[in-house]
């Protein structure tokens, strides 16, 4: 099913709540000035609901990364309003935004960005340490999440002792360990082979998609489009189309 941009975007799955986790209204982002000025986002308005995995797709340079950065509170928009998990990020000051990110958003990066000096369990516990948890308790909880993503036997392995797929699973555990309400994934399958990529996407679906949580995934990888509940296609800084894929996803 395909929806035009100006049609209501929030088509909730049966498990989802009625409110949107992310609301962007007329968001633009301009980099540089004068002749070197680049408009990375151009009047983007979109709503992303709870309980869904939304894939953000499009060619290189279309503004996906900028959009996800704005949604995650890592970039301030040049214009427009950004509301995430009921908070208006455009009105939030730096320190509060950092705290908000730490408490309510989980991140999965393309290159995993694990700390090489830490074990898998220690890496997965980092968001809890940031939140001020006791180290022992944080590692305990992280170990539990790692077991959920199938790495119960690799708790004490360092990043360089893990395969790419395993590292990404540690990154997923790290992103979920503090129970965030928004999970932001940047090309989580880009550094993986096809099989590992599908395994990772399946895992994100399985452990991350919850009725009270939204998942946004930036991806180039058309082989994993079928994992999305909704696909937002971007082009030249604009949202080109939004497809809802309920009923088309593999079970």
């Amino acid at each position: 099913m395909t929806t035009a941009i100006d049609e209501p975007l929030v088509e909730l799955s049966s498990a989802a709540t009625t409110s949107a986790a992310v609301r962007l209204r007329g968001v633009s982002k301009v980099f540089g000035t004068g002749d070197t000025q680049v408009k990375a986002l151009d009047d983007v308005s979109v709503e992303l609901p709870y309980g869904e995995m939304v894939l953000l797709v499009g060619p290189s340079g279309c503004g996906k990364t900028t959009l996800i950065s704005v949604v995650a509170g890592l970039l301030d928009p040049s214009a427009g309003e950004v509301e995430v998990l009921g908070k208006n990020l455009t009105k939030m000051w730096g320190g509060a935004k950092v705290k908000f990110r730490g408490e309510r958003i989980g991140f999965v990066f393309q290159q995993y960005n694990l700390l090489p000096a830490l074990t898998a369990a220690e890496n997965a516990s980092v968001p809890l340490l940031i939140a001020g948890w006791d180290r022992k308790k944080a590692v305990e909880k992280a170990s539990h999440i790692l077991a959920q993503v199938g790495l119960g036997s690799k708790l004490k392995s360092y990043a360089n002792q893990l395969s790419g797929g395993q590292q990404q699973r540690v990154a997923i555990a790290r992103a979920l360990v503090h129970d965030p309400q928004l999970l932001v994934c940047d090309e989580p399958t880009a550094a993986l082979d096809g099989t590992s990529g599908r395994t990772v996407m399946g895992l994100i679906r399985q452990v991350a998609v919850q009725p009270d949580r939204a998942v946004v995934v930036v991806t180039h990888d058309s082989r994993v489009y079928d994992f999305g509940d909704r696909i937002v296609t971007m082009s030249d800084g604009k949202v080109e189309k939004v497809e809802s894929r309920h009923g088309e996803r593999p079970a």
Binding site: L74, V98, Q111, N113, P116, L118, E122, V126, P127, D186
Partner: protein
């Protein structure tokens, strides 16, 4: 998160050790060179520090430091004794002599001629080192004809093969016999010549003939009058220069600082140590930060504030600073201990007062602060969004 910072730091062993090496090398070089410099400067004042009992030195107005010997006429002693506040005043001969050794070789020696303090009737020599520094003999032995005391290092230097000391050994100085009747421990000298203590009358026999033979007058101030006051009175009434021990100590060091290239040369080495330390530690620390930029970016994205990043980096810098400083300053101190323990034929020029570890600590703090600031400049302006690029 401080725990994470430490794990990040120690996780990359090569870089971690590189930074510690840079800091410890700088601390070692700075500490060791400053200790040698201070030791050398201190050695210039050894004869001032060896003199026991007197608290004021009187000398010709043009004297600039302790080895700048400008003899005065003998009547100056009487004029000094006449100054109010002077308890006693005695002559001190200081000069250089040439000793002929048994093998026919010559060795330059420092001659110190001690006078008697007869004012209280005790008739004891004045100006020699403390009793407890005598290794062999008694100061009273100087009453024997042609008797001299030799410093322990001088004995080892001239008769190294014949240790332990045996009384009866003699030298020939200015065609006159000098019988060594005792050994005394003296502070190491700048010139490294052996030191001979003898009576004033003998000393002027050993020295080349000169029209004036009174280089210094040692003065004890009366009870209730400070040495500084006595100095002022002596200078006013005699026109001579009078300095307390401490004043003469610093006057001598000041001369060497201003009139020789020693401070500049050591200063260059210490500065090089600082610069090299800054370069190695700063560069390695910066590279360490650059290599972990994505990780730091991730931490920022995940909610680590800039303030916390500053804390993490400063902690890393502090840890390498403390370890590097400990190793470096420990190595510098160890150098001094080893030198004193194993090198017996050269006087030690190594002074490791509290000021040296303190100054080195300050320099190391500066090195790690500069290193940390270079890294922080990169990290604080790092957009968390870099993790998505």
């Amino acid at each position: 998160m401080f725990w994470v910072a430490l794990r990040m730091l120690t996780g990359d062993r090569a870089k971690y050790l590189g930074i510690v090496f840079g800091v410890s090398f700088a601390a070692l070089l700075m500490g060791q060179q400053m200790a040698i410099f201070c030791g050398l400067m201190r050695n210039t004042t050894s004869q001032i520090r060896d003199v026991e009992g007197a608290d004021v030195w009187v000398m010709d107005r043009s004297v600039q430091f302790v080895d700048d010997v400008k003899p005065m006429s003998d009547n100056k002693l009487l004029r000094v004794r006449g100054v109010e506040g002077v308890a006693w005043a005695v002559k001190l001969y200081k000069g250089l002599g040439k000793a002929k050794l048994a093998d026919g070789n010559y060795q330059q020696v420092i001659l110190l001629g001690l006078d008697y303090d007869n004012k209280d009737g005790a008739g004891r020599v004045v100006g020699q080192p403390r009793e407890d520094r005598i290794v062999v003999g008694r100061w009273e032995d100087l009453d024997q004809p042609d008797a001299v005391f030799l410093d322990e290092f001088g004995w080892r230097y001239m008769f190294g093969q014949e240790i332990p000391f045996e009384p009866g050994r003699s030298l020939e100085i200015n065609n006159k016999r000098a019988n060594i009747v005792g050994l005394v421990k003296c502070n190491p000298t700048f010139q490294t010549f052996p030191i001979l203590y003898t009576k004033f009358a003998s000393a002027i026999q050993y020295a080349p003939p000169e029209p004036k033979t009174l280089p210094f007058i040692l003065v004890k101030s009366q009870d209730g009058i400070t040495p500084e006051e006595v100095c002022e009175r002596i200078e006013e009434s005699t026109g001579l220069r009078a300095k307390t021990n401490n004043q003469f100590f610093w006057m001598t060091i000041d001369y060497y600082l201003k009139r020789t290239g020693i401070p500049i040369n050591f200063g260059i080495t210490v500065t090089l140590g600082f610069v090299v330390g800054c370069a190695i530690a700063g560069q390695t620390f910066y590279l360490f930060t650059l290599e972990n930029l994505k990780q730091f970016g991730s931490l920022k994205a995940m909610g680590v504030s800039n303030l916390r990043i500053v804390g993490m980096v400063m902690l890393q810098a502090l840890v390498v600073g403390v370890i590097g400083y400990g190793l470096g300053i420990g190595g510098a101190a160890g150098f001094g201990v080893v030198f004193e323990k194993f090198v017996k034929t050269a006087p030690s020029a190594f002074y490791f007062g509290w000021q040296i570890p303190a100054i080195t600590a300050g320099a190391v703090f500066l090195i790690i602060t500069v290193s940390a600031l270079m890294s922080l400049k990169k990290l604080l302006f790092l957009e968390a969004g870099v993790v998505f690029r």
